[in-house]
Amino acid sequence: MMPQVVTVKVTDDGKRFRIPLIPVLIVLSPILVLAALVLAVACLVLRINPFAAFGRTYRLYTALRGLHLEIDEGRSTVLVSVR
């Protein structure tokens, strides 16, 4: 299942930013299509199966769900959480 929300907190005051990924992907979709074309050409030049490359990249993206990284030092916190 695709990740839905990324939570990022890189502040001392405890504010969290929740980034909904699907709307972000929809907004960025024109750029993503162009990037996909460039990557497909790069794959062909490097003799890599572009379908396998896209499939495995998508798997890597979906596998990000559940990633949690939290570093606290005194009052400073860095938090990245993918759900």
Partner: protein, 137 residues
Amino acid sequence: MNEQRRQILEMLAEGKINADEAERLIAALGRDREAPPPTQPRGKPKYLRVVVDDRSGEVPSKVNVRVPIQLLRAGVRLATLVPPRAIDRANDELERAGIGIDLSKLKPEQIEELIVHLDEMTIDVEDADSTVHVFCE
């Protein structure tokens, strides 16, 4: 007296087996009963957790990392697509950084075996001011 022991004694009484054989069979029954039940296979681990609690400095610090095992698997599968020339360059850079890992030998089948055994792995490092805990869940 259970059914199996009764059957052995009946066979002894009927002369089908001798006393030594009966004794061996009864001893084998006892061993079976004492044997621990087979351990239930735990489900495959889903996450690799690293928890560090450091109170040695002026400011205490904590690290809490949870990496999906699926990410490890997906990363290795993606790495298999990397061209050999790029793998060689990456190996050179790793060796220069003092990390003796040959990426060309990293295969998805091996990572499956590694993941299965990761479930049994727990690393605990504790000293007076800090603790490091690495485990799978």
